[in-house]
């Protein structure tokens, strides 16, 4: 079942079209990467899911039901542009935001105590927000986003402002929440976190979804069938072994080992390459050069933009 299913969403702001027939499906208990260049329309889509704005046309369902006002209590949203009331104390601020999400006072207090202990910030309760560092405030913001145990978490650049230790803490919390049943929409430009966290992605560019699907599948689509092969022996012997349908892209020699980048020809498999080379050289290792999400992002966006110019 999908936690969120948006179909044919269209949104205009005056003469600017922010979303053109955008459709995404976010499966339950998954991390969904919402990617795209700045100004592509990600925030517009997020605001529609959060019911901050409504689409001009198209439908959104939440766990199979048409999106309705009561669903906001099952959504936790950490916007990219986030802040807190500076003059309020940490505790009262968290209590206020939790109650706005529908938690009772007692429930909010007890959950907050648990989270404060988990993040080792229980001494901050009476501190004023203006006395916190940016990273400290980010932790408080994360807690207020997840406190009401929402079915859907929408995190927009959740790691920005965090040092590597705290970023890892947040990453582990996200995985824990996913294990506990939450669905997460992660909007970020940090492709490393997309690779390590996301199960599915949608890439929005110029108001349209130009790439979507499970991360593994998307990566497969961008496979170049190039392998990095480490071997011992003469480069000449490699050349002899590589007959037609294999293309040697480069060959380097370092520390007594050759590394060759070889592209498989149409219809050829790794086994065919190995079978062709084994008689000629001593193979040490072989691995496929799979494009990173960064490369996929750049390639997809560049290709789309070139096609629309």
């Amino acid at each position: 079942m999908n936690t969120i299913e948006a179909k044919n969403i269209v949104k205009h702001y005056a003469s600017h079209q922010a979303l053109k027939n955008v459709s995404i499906a976010v499966p339950e208990r998954s991390v969904f990467g919402l990617l795209g260049p700045n100004g592509a329309g990600k925030t517009s889509l997020i605001r529609i899911i959060n019911q901050i704005t409504a689409p001009d046309s198209g439908t959104v369902t939440f766990c199979g039901e048409p999106l309705a006002p009561h669903h906001v209590e099952q959504i936790g949203y950490l916007p990219e542009e986030r802040g807190l009331y500076k003059s309020m104390k940490v505790g009262e601020q968290c209590m206020y935001l939790a109650q706005l999400k529908g938690l009772s006072k007692a429930e909010a207090k007890s959950r907050l105590m648990d989270w404060f202990k988990r993040f080792e910030i229980h001494t901050w309760w009476d501190k004023k927000i203006e006395d916190l560092s940016k990273g400290m405030a980010q932790k408080v913001q994360f807690i207020t986003t997840v406190l009401h145990e929402p079915k859907l978490l929408i995190l927009d650049e959740p790691f920005s402002g965090f040092d590597p230790i705290n970023a890892e803490l947040i990453r582990l919390e996200m995985l824990r929440l996913k294990d506990q049943g939450s669905t997460i929409i992660l909007s970020t430009h940090d492709m490393g976190s997309v690779e390590s966290l996301c199960d599915n992605i949608a890439l929005i560019n110029r108001s349209e979804v130009i790439l979507e699907g499970p991360v593994r599948e998307v990566k497969n689509r961008f496979r170049t069938h190039v392998y990095a092969l480490q071997y011992q022996g003469a480069a000449m012997d490699l050349g002899i072994g590589l007959w037609s349908n294999f293309e040697l892209l480069e060959n380097t020699f370092q520390d007594g080992l050759h590394t060759a980048h070889i592209k498989l020809g149409e219809g050829k498999q790794l086994n065919d390459l190995l079978a062709a080379l084994i008689p000629h050289i001593q193979i040490i290792s072989v691995r496929e050069l799979i494009p990173t999400m960064d490369e996929i992002f750049i390639s997809a966006v560049t290709k789309f933009n070139q096609g629309h110019e």
Binding site: Y13, V72, L78, P79, E81, R82, S87, M88, L97, T145
Partner: protein, 449 residues
């Protein structure tokens, strides 16, 4: 608690816990009193000592002293020196040249000649310009002295007799429709004007607070988190109502504080002047005397004035316009706060909102002089000025249709204003770093949700 209730509660508790709120609540009335007292003091207080030389060419107000050595006032109770005025008068029959005056110890020179007698105009030369208060005091002395001269010397009349027959004329006003005696419209208008000023200040002070609060939420970037939990309209109304309640609290506390201060002051004055003895004495006065006191009270203008005002209507309207006016302007101020990113940008939008308030204030004061003015009636109904103007208009006697249309138009404007403000607010709070103009605001109003 409902979400809007939570927002109101937060706005209220954060604001009333602020030091600035406590300081303003307790020091506000004192500061205000000091401000008024200081301003009055500055106007009337003149620390200079004045030595005034009056050249009385015709000897109409001065005469020789018994020893023949100089001149003195003809009227023994006039031109007396007192500490409060610090004016010392001397007389001369011969003219004093400018250069002589410059080198003399006198700092004011007044010449009374035929012109003064016939047309009431005389020349005053000074080294240091006397304050209005001192000038009034000197001219008052000369005016009465000349009057005595005319009455006694020209008309050969006893001045005390003249005084006793000289009476001013004022009107007791009667509206033929009501056939009851009306107190002076001007006096009643003052009560309305007092209410109008309260509404004016309340709208301004707390309207601007709403605007700043919205701007704070926007620049803090908390607003997107909040509007993912509540509707922007709820957030806006929560803020407007919350800050309005803060204002009401402060207002009530000011009234209570003023009550306590005046009670304390009257008790103190009472203890100093033996007030308790007066009260004891009153209890022993016989019933006839008490009745006489009551009759005297009933004939007193001030008491008539207080009873002539329709207090229940005035208070009812005050509460209605106080709240209605604030809610209308509060939401407009909220919309301005949402549309801009900083104080500087807010100026261009503040102007059209503050101008009607200022017009309302000006019209209110002009209504005191011309109660039936059609312009005044129009602005008493026009919703952006009515919260201020209607108070004066009602105090001096507004027809029921004016009051009713004014109330209806305020309610309609409030609904329209809130709808408009809500549209601007909804888009504005999520719009950062954009220089907004009126064209842009119109676009926002046309956006679908």
């Amino acid at each position: 608690m409902s979400k809007i209730g939570l927002i109101i509660k937060r706005e209220y508790s954060v604001k009333v816990k602020k030091k600035s709120f406590l300081i303003m609540t307790f020091l506000g009335p004192i500061l205000f009193a000091c401000l008024i007292f200081g301003a009055v003091l500055l106007t009337i207080n003149d620390q200079h000592d004045y030595k005034v030389m009056i050249v009385d060419f015709n000897g109409v107000i001065s005469e020789e002293t018994a020893d023949g050595r100089g001149l003195q006032s003809r009227f023994s109770d006039r031109f007396q020196y007192s500490d409060s005025s610090s004016v010392l008068y001397e007389f001369s029959k011969t003219d004093i040249s400018d250069s002589t005056f410059k080198n003399s110890p006198y700092n004011v020179l007044i010449k009374i000649d035929d012109g003064a007698l016939n047309h009431g105009k005389c020349d005053l030369y000074y080294k240091h310009k006397p304050s209005d208060m001192v000038e009034d005091k000197i001219s008052g002395e000369i005016e009465e002295a000349l009057e005595r001269f005319r009455v006694q010397d020209s008309l050969q009349m006893d001045y005390a007799k003249y005084k006793s027959i000289k009476k001013n004329v004022s009107f007791n006003l009667h509206d033929i429709e009501k056939l009851t005696e009306e107190a002076d419209n001007g006096m009643k208008g003052v009560v309305g004007f007092g209410f109008a000023i309260l509404i004016y200040f309340f709208i301004f002070m707390y309207g601007v607070q709403v605007m700043r609060g919205v701007m704070e939420e926007k620049t803090n970037r908390i607003v997107e988190v909040i509007v993912s939990s509540v509707k922007p309209f709820q957030l806006m109304m929560g803020k407007v109502i919350g800050i309005g309640l803060v204002g009401l609290t402060q207002f009530v506390m000011w009234i209570m504080l003023c009550g306590v201060i005046s009670l304390a002051a009257s008790l103190y004055i009472g203890s100093q002047t033996g007030g308790a003895a007066v009260v004891d004495g009153m209890q022993q006065v016989d019933p006839m005397q008490q009745q006489a006191v009551m009759e005297a009270l009933m004939n007193n203008d001030a008491v008539n004035w207080i009873f002539s005002i329709n207090w229940p209507l005035m208070l009812g309207l005050f509460i209605f316009y106080f709240i209605g006016g604030y809610l209308l302007y509060g939401s407009l101020f909220a919309a301005i706060g949402a549309a801009v990113d900083n104080d500087t940008d807010s100026q261009q939008f503040m102007l059209p909102v503050t101008i009607p308030l200022i017009i309302g204030y000006i019209i209110s004061s002009s209504l005191l002089a011309n109660p039936e003015s059609p312009v005044g009636t129009f602005f008493a109904i026009f919703p952006l000025t009515s919260p201020i103007v209607i108070m004066v208009k009602t105090a001096i006697g507004a027809p029921a249709w004016v009051i009713l249309s004014s109330m209806v138009s305020l309610v309609l404007a409030f609904l329209g204003g809130i709808w408009l403000a809500g549209k601007i607010y909804r888009v504005g709070i999520l719009m950062y770093g954009k220089k907004v103009n009126y064209k842009e605001l119109l676009k926002w109003i046309r956006y679908s949700s």
